[in-house]
Symmetry: C2
Subunit: 352 residues, 2 copies
DNA sequence: CGATAGCTTGATTTCGTTCAAGAGAAGTGG
DNA sequence: CCACTTCTCTTGAACGAAATCAAGCTATCG
């Protein structure tokens, strides 16, 4: 059961709101002034706070300010109640991190709708997403399912991409966001002499190509199907409208992209000083976790040696030699050319 | 002279606003309905648009929607005028990308202030910042100077860091944003065997350590002064308050961090397949442009061979050998141990 | 003035690339 | 369906680039 804290100095209004929310199935706490409100928020850690702006002593802004300072309460959705909507008031409140503004007098449904929407959004945005490429994908996916994201996959064209056909290529301007319904896709950068370095691998459920859309720049890499894939094509505006109009989502994206920087820095470190053995080992576990995420029966890695080599950043022959070594060391097995991992721990904790 | 487009169906109000703005020194265009307003916006490309919400036929939302679709007009600051401030109205407007909301009746100064603020912000946020680390820095710096950024350097402690003292280290939680007043700083990641890989170099005027603050994660790298430096320490909240409360700034950061990903991917590509010669050449020009940005007389690169090597991702001896090669090829010169670049083009366009 | 850290060159070794070639596997077309 | 090409995978041998080890040199600092 969700709990809601109501802060208002008018007894009548406070009790009235509490009653409405009780009826709606929420657990309610009340506080009759700002100071007590802050204390209650810290103590009870409610799922949402409704707070009046105009209060003696510590007003609504003060309450919001204090709550945002405290890491325990900074993320609790916060809805302001205000009598007359003065423009500067509301802007101040939103600027300080309030999530919504409700003008008195208000309809019950108006309040309930606002609360429900905020709670829903909070759930989506505060569930932890893993730090890899999947993170963005899962988040967008959740948003989409929730209905907050207007994108409806079914409204868009779904295309079949044959193996080795490209979704987009370097230098082109991004017009679409891609959603991978089935298959596998790689994105890579080209070196002068024609060698490819694979920067990202995508599997079912991944969104592809959101970075250059966010940046509003041309593609600097090329994406290509590595097996027959079904891909949904979404106009870029649908995506940018969402990200650039909602602070919580934008915030989430800042974090996701920052994590991407870290991941790339880590890869740089390993490429600079790590032995080929280690890099191959890491690549195998990376690829494995990317492509066999959910509990699929098969433990096989099903992409070409060349692609693995290009993900590691080495020659195909060198990769194969390392694979042979791993095979004789019983860390992996090869059946029908497909790689099966026997011992993940051994793979990730190679002594040299 | 800045031009402003006023869209309102009430002749009196429209003319009145135009008059005020004319007096304030703006060039004004007017349109008496939404359709004409959109046409005028595309044709005149004003610096800002003031638009009434309630209009027959095409209302304010429609105008905003159309303008956001068009790449010519999508970035023009947009201020809504509205009679009664209905909560849902305003939220809808802000959600669609309006920059401000003004409630009728309003004071002249209120309108003028809002316009001035938006134009100022627009200037800062739409000037192009280079894609490297400097980009973030310059932006924050501009914001700070403008007064939109509350941070005032003078209010904060300024500390002296001796050579080789660290600002922060891996695993710690970020509490501050650092601003480099003088000196040079490097940030690096540690490899198992103790080798360092330098991920970023910072010089005068750079902000350091904003990424983990944005992410709200611990540091995964270590920052250390490479010469005596003066550094201003800014509490993290000052920074997060700014970024997470203003969509335009948040947007800017998404772009900046995305660019960082690209930069790192590029470095990965080179590290994977580029020859040592090329990597050293690029490192030299990178370091040169980072540390000798403004028209300083000296063309010398003044950091240790070891640090350069760690930026390239190679052994110090190997770096030095490559430097010797460049020296005999007359691409660089070495005086008193300091490296001087003779020929930047030759350095960046090495045949092999 | 000695000591220590940073810079440079030489010799040796190691790891990974490249070239070469064969064995399978998988398309392709008559 | 079979002979054909073509692509992928694999192993061998030779080569080469960069790391490592070693040692001398130079500048800097107490």
């Amino acid at each position: 059961m969700r709990s809601i804290l109501i802060i208002d100095d008018h007894d009548e209004i406070r009790e009235n709101i509490a009653e409405i929310l009780d009826l709606a199935g929420y657990k309610t706490f009340t506080a009759e002034n700002g100071k007590k409100g802050v204390e209650a928020a810290i103590k009870q850690k409610p799922d949402l706070i409704v707070c009046d702006v105009m209060m003696p002593e510590l007003d609504g802004y003060g309450v919001l300010h204090l709550l945002k300072k405290n890491s325990l309460t900074e993320n609790i959705p916060f809805i302001f109640l205000t009598a007359k909507t003065e423009r500067s008031d509301f802007r101040k409140g939103m600027g300080m991190g309030a999530d919504d503004y409700i003008t008195k007098p208000f309809e019950d449904t108006e309040l309930l709708d606002a609360i429900e929407m905020r709670l829903k959004k909070y759930d989506i945005l505060h569930s932890q997403y893993p730090s890899n490429e999947k993170g963005a994908t899962e988040m967008i996916d959740d948003l989409r399912k929730s209905g907050l994201f207007k994108m409806e996959m079914d409204n868009y064209e779904s295309m079949e991409y044959q193996k080795k056909t490209s979704l987009y290529s370097e230098g082109k301007r991004p017009k679409f966001l891609f959603y991978l319904k089935s298959g596998k896709v790689k994105s890579f950068r080209l070196h002068q002499d024609g060698k490819e370095y694979i920067t990202n691998l995508y599997s079912v459920g991944d969104f592809i190509g959101y970075m250059p859309i966010l940046e509003n720049k041309s593609y600097e890499d090329t994406a290509e199907a590595i097996e027959k894939s079904e891909i949904v094509i979404i106009p870029r505006e649908e995506f940018t409208d969402l990200v650039f109009n909602d602070m919580t989502i934008a915030t989430k994206f800042i974090k996701l992209v920052s994590q991407n920087v870290k991941e790339k820095e880590q890869r740089l470190l390993e490429l600079a000083y790590g032995s080929l053995r280690k890099r191959v080992a890491r690549a195998l576990s990376d690829i494995y976790s990317k492509f066999n995420s959910s509990g699929e029966k098969s433990t096989a890695i099903d992409i070409s040696r060349e692609d693995i080599a290009q993900y590691v950043g080495t020659a195909t022959e060198s990769l194969i030699r390392t694979l042979s070594d791993f095979k004789t060391e019983k860390i992996i097995e090869i059946k029908d050319g497909k790689i099966h991992i026997n011992n993940i721990e051994k793979l990730t904790n190679l002594p040299y």
